[in-house]
Amino acid sequence: MDTLELPEKTEEPETPAAKLHKIDVSKIPSPVLARLIEEVRNEETSPIDAYSRFHNRHNRSR
């Protein structure tokens, strides 16, 4: 009896956040880039997605 040949299972493409998790930030020589990699990594679990966008003519850095 013929068997149905299933295509080989391909891996899901790696998400940008997953790629970032592989980076050792302690080895990044730029403090800015190290901080931002950490921030993007944490975006997935951050509860503050709520009102993160703000008006171009105002600055609330924190």
Binding site: S30, L33, E39, Y51, R57, R60
Partner: protein, 373 residues
């Protein structure tokens, strides 16, 4: 219903200075002249009712920003009244802030902001010789010394760690980004944001020779090189947003990325307007056809309306060039106002398209090079 991130309240329609590039007074819009100088008691109460309603109809918190004109023209007593009244109408997790030119900052004002948990952001363009070229008084004299006085009071206040939310600077592409960055670091703000000068396809901003010229992009690329290799960096919001987006994250402010931004602007007479930066397109560009007002309309009706939805959708780029651009997710088509052309509205690329592509490309190269190390 469209959800709101920021309620921007124009508590004073006039300004004590007259910056040459100001989108409120010096780019053709005359709406300010029809407004009361200061927000009235009746309008303060109507805005408070609107904040209370917003709290009921959306679950997410929002930011409240006092804007102008110059919001500190209210004076300490009225500022205290506005903040106390609006604070009591909004949930405690809502952030309150104000954007000021800094000149009228006094210890009394700062105490009022501190009591009402309201942060202060100051507009300053750089060291004196750069700032005083454009941020001038009605007598055309530079305002740097007065701004620095107010800024120093803010920095020295006992609660400055909370109060001081950052600086806002408009780029002068003829300036030296190293000099500007080093100057701002001496002020020790928690962060700074750099803005492009306002302009559109009909009226290119000063410092931009022609549509595809890249004076602003080159200035930003030089700033990127200084910033990325600084071992004690002063956070720069605009560059941080572009890097976050390049890394696959989200931007925080309108003008980069594709996440929608929900703004509700309330003018000094209580009327509801579109994003006020659209004033730079043509006289009345920020006005809705419906004459909505916090005095006569409920927010639910406005936020569910087609006209508000159409205005909200303006932030999304529609130009075929943008929609097929490989950097669309990072650039986001830039600010809506920079896409304006008299013949076809906002269906264009930003006048800063070439600048954005230059700085994003430069950032990609630098980020890849640092990661490769």
């Amino acid at each position: 219903m469209i959800e709101i991130d920021t309620v921007l309240i124009k508590v004073a329609s006039r300004c004590n200075i007259n910056c040459t590039y100001c989108y409120v007074y010096n780019m053709g819009d005359t709406g300010w002249a029809d407004m009361p100088s200061h927000i009235s008691e009746e309008t303060i109460l109507a805005v408070a009712r609107a904040l209370d309603e917003l709290t009921c109809i959306q679950t997410r918190p929002f930011a409240v920003v006092l804007h102008g004109g110059e919001p500190l023209l209210l004076g300490p007593r009225k500022l205290d009244h506005v903040l106390t009244t609006l604070r009591s109408a909004a949930p405690s997790q809502c952030s309150f802030g104000l954007q000021t030119n800094g000149i009228l900052i006094t210890n009394e004002i700062l105490d009022i902001c501190s009591t009402n948990r309201t942060t202060v952001s100051v507009s300053i363009d750089g060291p004196k010789h750069i700032h005083d070229r454009v941020r001038v008084g009605h007598d055309a004299k530079g305002t740097f010394d007065k701004v620095l006085g107010g800024l120093n009071r803010l920095r020295e206040h006992r609660n400055s760690a909370f109060l001081f939310s950052g600086l806002l600077a408009v780029i002068d592409p003829q300036s030296d980004p190293r000099e500007v960055y080093d100057f701002f670091k001496t002020l020790k703000p928690p962060g700074i944001d750099f803005l492009y000068r306002d302009g559109n396809h009909a009226r290119l901003p000063e410092g931009k020779e022609f549509l595809r010229s890249t004076e602003y992009g080159q200035w930003l690329a030089r700033l990127v090189d200084i910033y990325l290799f600084d071992q004690d960096p002063l956070p720069i919001r605009f560059i941080d947003d572009l890097i976050r987006l390049i890394l696959g994250g989200k931007g925080t402010k309108d003008g980069a990325g594709l996440t929608d931004f929900g703004i509700l602007v309330i003018d000094a007479d209580g009327s509801i307007t579109k994003n006020d930066t659209l004033k730079s397109s043509f006289d009345g560009a920020d006005r809705f056809v419906h004459k909505w007002s916090v005095h006569t309309n409920c927010l639910k009706e406005i936020l569910n309306s087609d006209e508000f939805a159409d205005s909200h959708a303006l932030q999304r780029p529609t130009s075929k060039i943008c929609l097929s651009c490989p950097e669309l997710r990072v650039c986001g088509g830039g600010m809506t106002l920079h896409r304006w052309r008299d013949v076809n509205g906002y269906d264009n690329t930003s006048i800063y398209c070439a600048d954005q592509l230059l700085v994003i490309g430069h950032l990609r190269n630098q980020v890849a090079a640092i990661q490769a190390q």
